[in-house]
């Protein structure tokens, strides 16, 4: 039985294949295969590989962070559902990325998409497929040229990129929480990792037209403010628009009913885990144990997160008279998202300001989305979408020659570093390039995501019934409770802090054309 399964898998690998149409031929002369094999035991490759894999494991652990954070910020009756979504999304990401995502994103092809590398075997050693850990100048040949700037085995490259794809997918789960059908979320997750994340990923990191343009400035997004956080954010926004708000969130005549989370302990633990995970996310993106660079990136990362937390707290304190803890954690995450693109290229002072602006932006963004009736239970849009954009722009403002990864240079070198930013006498060119990247990713991802969500709505449906939403998705989607045996939430607590009038349910049912037991005849 096992043999059957492994044979089928290998068959897929063989049939759907590794190589795109025209793989680079193996270079003549030196025995590069032997050179690659020998390199595997070199101290450099060992250090770099351990670094890449350990940081990848930290990024993987961020899934636990998201699970705790989102569950804590939502109601008890939906806890199992939110935990399930956050858990299974990484499993789905692992499969989708292996099947299609990695190839579309990183295999050779054209400036828009990779055309091979599907169902990859992920073994190094075949010059026609991949001669990692050889770098380009050392004689790399294979179909993953876009990754030959780092000298680690192909498997390590894949695993590192996989956990980033998983992070983008899980951003969506918080935004659509408390009303999405589980099965629809599973399908969407497969699509985001397999396609919506991978294609712009090719443009940015896969030696495509944004990151490796044939002429002009290259777009830079070091660890993924746009690639991970904004792409996740655009998909989340599209999902929220197609789904609609939770029942009772917005009152008929205007006004917002707060729906408080049920467990601030989980929120705290979740945010700490994410903060820790970012020390893998950002410094790991050097994909090499470069002491100066990774030390510097740890500092810029932490500074932005810390300042984001403080500033968001102060702003919330000023606006709402009390330091709202959920805004503190959103502020920390906003700072971390914002520093993700520029982390390698800015000074500590720059990271301070980047985090400061993020802390302000996130508080106002939360208010804004409430005002335009976009219901985001956990602030995913305010944290990931808004600050993903801000962080990407910040590269064009704050990049400075003194940062280790800039190597003392002020000019844009594709594949290496951006030009110095506007505030560091680099002029406006890099900033405009960043804007171009932000805009083109948005122009692709947002409409495509809308179409996907809408098709899902027409085919399998996206939203649970009003009855199920009121009872809680734990019972409806999973047939179980998160805290069985504990006293049930009282009716009024289970719904929202403001009472949900039956009229609200009927109004929702009427406006969405659905009939349920609660709709008046």
């Amino acid at each position: 039985m096992f043999e059957l399964l492994t044979t089928a898998s290998d068959l897929a690998v063989g049939l759907l294949g590794q190589a795109p149409a025209a793989a680079a031929p193996a270079p003549a002369g030196e025995d590069f295969v032997k050179k690659a094999a020998d390199l595997m035991s070199s101290p450099r490759v060992i250090a770099d590989t351990v670094w890449v894999l350990i940081t990848a494991m930290l990024v993987f652990w961020m899934n636990a962070g998201f699970a705790c954070l989102e569950t804590g910020l939502c109601r008890r009756k939906n806890a199992v559902n939110i935990l399930s979504k956050n858990f299974i999304v990484f499993a789905i990401s692992s499969v989708a990325f292996w099947m299609f995502g990695f190839g579309l994103m990183f295999a050779d092809g054209n400036p828009f998409v990779g055309t091979g590398g599907f169902f990859p075997a992920l073994l190094s050693g075949d010059p026609a497929v991949d001669l990692s850990p050889l770098k380009a100048a050392e004689g790399y040949s294979g179909i993953f040229d876009s990754l030959n700037w780092t000298g680690v085995p192909l498997g390590a490259k894949f695993f590192f990129q996989l956990v980033f794809a998983g992070t983008a997918a899980t951003i969506v789960s918080g935004a659509v929480a408390e009303r999405i059908q589980y099965k629809t979320f599973l399908v969407f997750s497969f699509i985001i990792v397999g396609v919506l994340y991978a294609i712009p990923g090719h443009w940015i990191w896969g030696s495509g037209w944004l990151g490796a343009p044939s002429s002009g400035y290259a777009f830079f997004d070091f660890a993924g403010s746009t690639q991970v956080h904004s792409i996740g954010g655009w998909c989340a926004l599209a999902g929220i628009l197609v789904l609609g708000p939770r029942i009772g969130k917005f009152r008929q005549g205007g006004g917002v009913n707060p729906i408080p989370g049920h467990n601030m302990g989980l929120v705290a633990i979740g945010t700490f885990i994410l903060w820790l995970g970012w020390f893998g996310f950002n410094p790991g993106s050097t994909m090499s144990a470069d002491p100066a660079a990774i030390s510097h990136i740890c500092i810029t990362t932490n500074t932005a997160g810390a300042v984001g937390a403080i500033v968001a707290t102060l702003v919330a304190w000023a606006l709402f008279k009390k330091p709202d803890f959920s805004m503190t954690v959103n502020g920390c995450l906003a700072g971390l998202v914002a520093i993700t693109a520029p982390c390698a290229f800015v000074s500590v002072g720059g990271s301070f300001i980047i985090g400061l602006v993020a802390g302000v932006l996130v508080v106002f963004a939360v208010q804004f989305f409430d005002k335009v009736k976009v219901d985001d239970p956990v602030g995913a849009l305010s944290v990931h979408l808004v600050n993903g954009v801000w962080g990407t722009l910040a590269v064009g403002l704050f990049a400075t020659a003194s940062a280790p990864s800039m190597g003392g240079a002020v000019d844009n070198v594709p594949g290496s570093h951006p030009a110095a930013g506007l505030f560091y006498e680099g002029g406006i060119a890099q900033l405009l390039t960043q804007l171009k990247g932000i805009g083109s990713v948005a122009a692709f991802v947002f409409p495509c995501a809308l179409v996907v969500w809408y098709v899902l709505k027409l085919t399998m449906g996206v939203r649970v019934t009003p009855e199920e939403e009121l009872e809680g998705l734990d019972i409806g989607e999973h047939g179980m409770e998160a805290y069985p045996g504990f006293s049930k939430e009282e009716g009024r607590e289970a719904h929202s802090a403001g009472a949900i009038a039956p009229e609200a349910v009927e109004a929702w049912a009427k406006s969405s054309g659905k009939k349920g037991a609660l709709a008046r005849p």
Partner: protein
């Protein structure tokens, strides 16, 4: 026989429980409850939006007594449940209702002997 139902502040519960034990009350049933009366709720803020929490946490005690014990139990509860000398709005209420019968499940005893 009478059923005495007392709604009190959670912070006074331990004191009341102690005092009741001291005057020889043999059994009490305790429930977490929420309630509102003259004591207004309080305002909370979550992510920029205010809401009023109108239902405040209380503790409900139910004590079954013989008619002759009612005054003693009521006084004991009041002494323990009143905040300070003069008390505060929100200290709660006591309801006295007639109790038709009492049965001890273990033995099947009925009436005052089952109290």
């Amino acid at each position: 026989m009478k059923l005495i139902t007392a709604i009190i502040q959670p912070s006074r519960f331990e004191v009341v429980k102690d005092q009741l034990a001291r005057v020889g009350v043999k059994g009490v049933t305790v429930t977490d409850a929420h309630g509102v009366g003259r004591q207004k709720g309080h305002t909370e803020v979550y992510r920029g939006h205010e809401y009023t929490v109108n239902l405040l946490a209380k503790v409900k005690l139910e004590i079954a007594v013989e008619d002759g014990e009612v005054e003693k139990v009521i006084d004991t509860i009041i002494r323990g449940a009143r905040t300070g000398d003069e008390g505060k709005i929100g200290d709660g209420k006591i309801f006295v209702t007639p109790l038709e019968n009492v049965i001890r499940i273990r033995t099947g005893e009925v009436g005052a002997v089952a109290l």
